[in-house]
């Protein structure tokens, strides 16, 4: 078995074009400008993962929503489950930066990326 494909590294804005060849001998990566590119390509061809970010409603805050991100990337096929888990959540202000808001979704949790103070 031997497959060759081209990927765009999404880890930073450099957007390196990676040439990946998969064979029985393993996964070979070229075109990366840093070592992270190799890890990314290997992950991407075996089990692609992504961070998921969204917002949920907040009652009584200085802004009406709080933004969230997964504390670690989830498999791509889990993205929809994370969105479903957050769709109808409503929280109460105040919310601190980094506060865990939703636990145990697809092996990760969702943390607040914005501070919401109580409305004055």
């Amino acid at each position: 078995m031997h497959t060759e494909l081209e990927l765009t590294c999404i880890l930073c804005p450099m957007s390196c074009t990676l040439k990946v060849s998969i064979s029985d001998a393993g996964i070979d990566v070229r075109g990366n400008q840093c070592t992270k590119g190799v890890e990314y390509a290997k992950q991407e061809v075996t089990n692609p993962v992504r961070h998921v970010m969204t917002v949920v409603r907040v009652r009584g805050g200085d802004i009406p929503t709080v933004s969230l991100i997964t504390s670690k990337p989830v498999p791509k096929n889990c993205i929809e489950r994370v969105m479903e888990a957050t769709a109808y959540v409503e929280l109460e202000a105040p919310i601190e930066l980094g506060q865990v808001v939703i636990k145990d979704v697809c092996g990760t949790s969702l943390v607040a990326t914005r501070r919401v103070r109580k409305a004055t």
Partner: protein, 423 residues
Amino acid sequence: MSNLIEERYDVVVIGGGPAGIAAAIRATELGLKTILLENRDVLGGIPLQCVHPGFGLHYFKEDLTGTQFIHRFFERMEKIGVEYITSAHVHSIEYRDYMEKVVNVITRKGVLRIYSKTIIYTVGARERTLFEIGVVGDRPDGIYTAGEAQTMMDIYGVLPGKDVVIIGSGDVGLIMARRFALEGARVKAVIEIMPYPGGLMRNVVQCLRDFNIPLLLSHAVISIAGKKRVEKVTVVKVDEGFRPIPGTEFEIACDTVVIAAGLRPNIDLLERLSIAIDPATGGPMVNELLETSIPGIFVAGNALVINDLADYVVEQGEKAAEGAKIFIENSGIPAEEWKPVKRGRNIRLAIPHYISGERSVTILARVAKPEQRVFVEVPEVGYKTFHMAVRPAEMIRLDLSKDALSKAEKSVTIEVKPIAYRA
């Protein structure tokens, strides 16, 4: 009853986004009496509604969301005690003389008249509108700029529509395509008039390909139809001169149109002072300390040039604050001679426009067209670096040392040359 308040400052920073906050922090740290003015009711500017990561990789060496990124600066502000006013609308700027400018501000407490030695102008950009991209037809509900859609979704938690066509493939458009898709809306297509995507490749991958959203390159939306709400758009293929190709028209049914056709520096207040403008950037002409053609008025962030990264915006804010310090200490920026930075082969724009050759400088440049395997060169100072690829969406950054720049006699030229190029 008149309620006029008069104050004196060394530095007035206009605009409380990342550039302005960074400038105000740096200026305060440098011991300058500084005030930061923001016209919205909260500080933070656009990053406050950017819930996606990709911020801080250069500046903090960490991948942060826009919201996390701007909170780091809020914390620094609090720590060193930066003075600021929100809901402060700058009505006008007056140039009195070299060391005195006046900023007239409408605040909740009354009209504030600030006398200041320097101004750092960091009001950001505005979004291009339908009128600027030549889309005709009806003007029903359901037409938003990408920034408006982002404010609705990520600040207010409101989904603007269900079936969406996005005009333009700049980064904001791509990121909003993903936000719509995540929230269960159908993004019918992203329409880009250029033959290549406007945003970063990583965003094309993770925002469009991940969600099977079609990207139509060399296509344009020519009209919008709908009575009360948007019902459909008409799309056409374009040739190399961006002219519609007759017979290629087709319609896409949708209830929402999002315009992500790029940003323009917002220079309204400066234009009234007859400041020198660079047609290539749409922003002011500046020297290496980001001082405009008016002595003591500095500009940073997207009001200067549309930046790819908030990290660069912050660096510009800090640079402008250092410029203000030098200006105040020397009653002007000391320089023997200002040498122009010239745009050579395949360079569409470059910042700054003038250098003294007496200080180290970071030049940000953008190419006119994508190329692979090239050298970016500044022949006058012997600078040459290899790039696997250059793209209009990704700024090139050149760090030039004071020593290298001292070799420049009349000017410096930034140019891009393919490996086997012969002039």
